[in-house]
Symmetry: C2
Subunit: 242 residues, 2 copies
DNA sequence: CGCCCTGTTGACCGCTCTCAAGCGGCGTGG
DNA sequence: CCACGCCGCTTGAGAGCGGTCAACAGGGCG
């Protein structure tokens, strides 16, 4: 585990590896004590039940928020990408486990310092508040999918959402940072159903899979139609925390 | 629709109709312009797509946050009780419809004034921030149930959660403010499955239903075990009533 | 080459949905 | 007072989607 302090933030920013939102937020860190930590794939940032000492800001890579029941059932609540904040809990222990999906870097912010800063700095407070309400809005869509949609619709929505999070225009191809089990646990399905549904989408000509981790979107129109069980909703901001 | 202003808050507080949390929050309203509105059962507070002009604080009654797809599928994201804030959206339109489940009263707070006040008043900011992160934490459990549990587990969890929201000790009996369709849409089930599952829980002796709207919890131990999505857990003592 | 890990495919089963009928409380009106 | 209709809820029969269990495929790597 690679631990460093402040200068790392500058280095990452100068390297252009950090997205805008992270950039905006990190501009507030000189006042607190951000600890930058790098994680290997699968490594745990915090576990369920750990004390809520820190809030986290993703700098690089993809992280996942996981809830595991005692008998082993697993639900992924969100994937966090650069610029996303996570670990904001109401109580003094974490209700979720946060893990690195692949190699990534996270900034740990003292919860206490963070809260104090929120009280003093409206701009920072707004950024955090916006992040949390955005996470809530995303959870609404996520839950509607998990609760009310077919496997095909869920996967289409997932791919559509990933495409929407890219910078700039919606890409014709999305990279899957996570493996099938993570997708299944995010969508409330089994790994077999995810696999079969990919096959089905391929057979219909909606997507192609040059590799297991890359999805070419051949028919964005049809994919979107499947994805939007709610077609009236305006397309959410591409930066939504999902 | 009954509209009044500030004095109504005082009246309600003096009448003891408002819970502590609402009370704490309303103490900040003299500085903003709270508009108190009463709603009849089923009445809409805001609809999906409406501009995000206000945040809302439930004063009395139960409200629901609903997402409806074009083809009529319905998912309830949350039930709000006195003291809960809702309508906090990141963007300038609501992503959810908020409706009264039964007769209730809500305080509408100008979003702009509210945000400004959050920037100036750390105590108010903390109250709001706590409310939002709590909503997130609740969504995690909710999603885990919808995504990974059987109908029986979902309903058990729902009843267990309602019991946990009561003031003081966990009650032996809970009142269902909402009808079966709302429970179904909250849990991602159909009304028939909810009904059958109630029957099943009755047959097992876990609960009794003196009326369709009241549930006596006869075996809290077994209900909790079902609710905690832990099929492997040993059966706890029948006398372990919280 | 052979092992391991991830992903795919197949066969079968069961939970929940769908469609449909029946029930019971309550308000209305004769 | 009872008859009637409405609405919310329950119950039943049958079907289908996705879960479960199991075998297989393919790529990476020692």
């Amino acid at each position: 585990m690679n631990v460093a302090v402040r200068p790392r933030v500058q280095a990452l920013r100068q390297a252009g590896e950090v997205l805008d939102l992270a950039d905006v937020t990190t501009s507030f860190f000189p006042y607190s004590e951000a600890v930058i930590v790098s994680y290997a794939p699968g490594q745990e940032v915090v576990g369920e039940g750990d004390p809520t000492d820190n809030y986290f800001l993703v700098m690089r890579g993809v992280f996942r928020a996981v809830k595991v029941t005692r008998d082993g059932r697993r639900q992924i609540f969100a994937f966090y990408m650069p610029g996303d904040m996570c670990g904001l809990e109401p109580d003094d222990t974490h209700g979720l486990t946060i893990e690195a999906v692949n190699a990534g870097t996270i900034a740990a912010l003292s919860r206490q310092v963070c809260r104090a800063r929120m009280g003093r700095d409206p701009q920072f407070n707004n950024a955090v508040f916006d992040n949390v309400t955005r996470a809530l809005a995303c959870a609404v869509d996520h839950m509607t999918m998990v609760g009310r949609s077919s496997a095909e619709e869920r996967l289409a929505w997932f791919l559509w959402m990933l495409g929407g999070r890219a910078r700039g225009r919606r890409p014709a191809s999305v990279e899957l940072a996570m493996q099938r089990q993570d997708i299944a646990d995010y969508l409330g399905l089994t790994i077999e159903t995810v696999s079969r549904t990919f096959t089905h989408l391929k057979a219909q000509g909606l997507v192609a899979l040059p590799t297991t981790r890359r999805v070419d979107i051949l028919r964005p129109d049809l994919l979107e139609r499947l994805a939007s069980a709610d077609r009236d909703a305006p397309i959410r901001s591409a930066r939504a925390v999902c």
